[in-house]
């Protein structure tokens, strides 16, 4: 190379060329290091150095990106910075433009968590098909959470308001810290051992900033999975779903919502009962109507005065039965008079044919068309008609027989 061919650059020119190379070669890098020399001038851009034991690199995080940081950036922080390399013309120094910053180690945790989630999913722990249905009306409900947080108060007050006729078994545990996962596991296993808990609410404490790692613990996930009662998780924040939420049979966004899912509203249940009783009453009344129309047809077809007397007697007995039913209804629905209004009236004409259906028959003197009420009369008459619920039969009375009823009495 001769001097004649030597190319002489202007400073700006060489910087521009180097910048092109840098930007072309390193459009996206992730660099781990310690933050030092942190400065935030009024522009809002964040300037710092990333360093390790022997080297350092200048870095900038522009205001728009800095605003998205979800942790406190400070000198000494170990971070992973993601962005691109460029050259700062004015100083001829190269720098990292950090677009994203995260605390070092967080990535490892997230990776580990992703692996755990993938593994448990593979094993079927999150399978929707194995989610257990919640009981409609739990008798005994266990609450596994911190005894001091807001969660336990929210859950208790919600249950007291909605469905106080339930027993709550409090199982206090630490929800954060090293002991938390083991305590939660022991609590869930103890509940399984009891065997008399219908549903479990597993909640965090309810503080604003909480470490949720206990609810991302594999042991806790497995304890939820093998728990003898369905588990409602009230752990995750809106944005932060935990492994416990995935495994739980039902996930609730807050402890209050968990309680609302666990127990029905008392007023709604009462309304449901009233509705059922109303339907039962209406259906019975309809049934009575049908029977009554059939009786009408029946009595007309046997236009026999004395028989009518027998039927009236049977009707009286049925009246008594229907009165009993109406009174039962009246007892239970004392405050709902309007609802049973008319029911009693409609019940009063119960079907005598049903008396016949139960095994009775009316015996009529064939010659005189008179209902017979004594065996001796029947023997004397000889030719009789027997009225069954579905028609009449001609019969000859052969003579006296041993009576059945007293025989029954005697055998008792």
């Amino acid at each position: 190379m001769s001097f004649a061919e030597e190319r002489i650059f202007a400073v700006g020119e060489i910087n521009a060329l180097v910048r092109e190379m840098l930007e072309g070669e390193f459009p996206a890098v992730a660099i781990a290091g310690e933050v030092s020399n942190l400065r935030v001038p009024s522009s809002g851009h964040v300037y710092f150095k990333l360093k390790d034991a022997t080297a350092q690199i200048a870095a900038v995080c522009f205001r728009a990106d800095a605003r998205r940081l979800d942790f406190e950036l400070e000198d000494g922080a170990q971070v992973i910075a993601r962005g691109n390399l460029t050259l700062y013309d004015a100083q001829g120094s190269y720098q990292l433009v950090a677009r994203m910053l995260e605390p070092a180690g967080r990535g490892d945790l997230e990776r580990a968590l992703r692996l755990l989630v993938a593994r448990l999913r593979e094993e079927g722990l999150f399978d929707p098909a194995r989610k257990r249905p919640l009981p409609r009306f739990p008798k005994r409900l266990a609450v596994v959470t911190s005894s001091t947080g807001a969660a336990v108060r929210d859950i208790l007050s919600t249950i007291a308001r909605r469905f106080p006729c339930v027993e709550v078994l409090m199982v206090p545990v630490q929800v954060q810290g090293e002991a938390a996962p083991a305590q939660i596991v022991r609590a869930l296993d103890a509940i399984t051992a009891l065997g008399n808990v219908d549903v479990v609410i597993l909640g965090r404490g309810g503080g604003s900033i909480e470490d949720l790692s206990a609810f991302n613990d594999e042991g806790v996930a497995r304890a939820i999975h093998r728990c003898g009662a369905p588990v409602i998780s009230a752990v995750g924040h809106e944005t932060d779903v935990t492994v416990a939420d995935f495994v739980a049979d039902v996930r609730a966004a807050t402890p209050t919502m968990a309680a609302e899912i666990a127990v029905p509203e008392r007023a709604e249940v009462l309304a449901r009962i009233a509705g059922l009783e109303r339907t039962a009453g209406a259906r019975l009344a309809m049934r009575v109507d049908v029977a009554r129309r059939r009786v009408g047809a029946f009595t007309k077809s046997y236009a026999l005065g004395q028989v009518r007397g027998q039927i009236e007697h049977a009707m009286q007995r049925l009246d008594h039965a229907s009165h009993r039913a109406a009174r039962a209804a009246g007892d239970a629905v004392a405050n709902r008079k309007a609802r049973v209004d008319g029911l009693e009236g409609r019940l009063s004409g119960l079907n005598p044919r049903d008396v016949l259906r139960r095994g009775y028959a009316v015996c009529i003197d064939a010659a005189q068309g008179r209902a017979l009420t004594r065996a001796t009369d029947a023997i004397r008459a000889g030719n009789v008609h027997l009225l069954f619920h579905d028609g009449a039969a001609r019969a000859n009375v052969l003579g006296a027989a041993e009576t059945h009823a007293p025989a029954k009495e005697a055998s008792k």
């Binding site: 409090m170 206090p172 259906r283 229907s322 239970a332 079907n351």
Partner: protein, 77 residues
């Protein structure tokens, strides 16, 4: 049947079953009456259960080795 012998859930389920039977229209009048009376009695049982006013609270303490002790805690809420 007393409510000790029958859980609330079972009583509700039976009541619903009875009403479904009545709605089927397949019962004789006698059966309808019996079911109706049973239904009314169940409704009464359920209401009595729901009238219970206070949440019963108990505490389960679980030791390091997994031993669990249950005790009444209704008063120290």
């Amino acid at each position: 049947m007393t409510d000790q012998a029958l859980t609330f859930e079972a009583a509700m389920a039976r009541l619903e079953e009875i009403v479904a039977d009545l709605e089927s229209g397949k019962l004789s009048l006698e059966e309808s009456l019996q079911k109706f009376e049973e239904g009314i009695a169940l409704g009464k049982t359920c209401r009595e259960f729901l009238d219970r006013a206070d949440v019963r609270i108990r505490t389960l303490t679980v030791s390091q080795n997994g031993d669990a002790t249950e005790e009444d805690a209704t008063d120290d809420e």
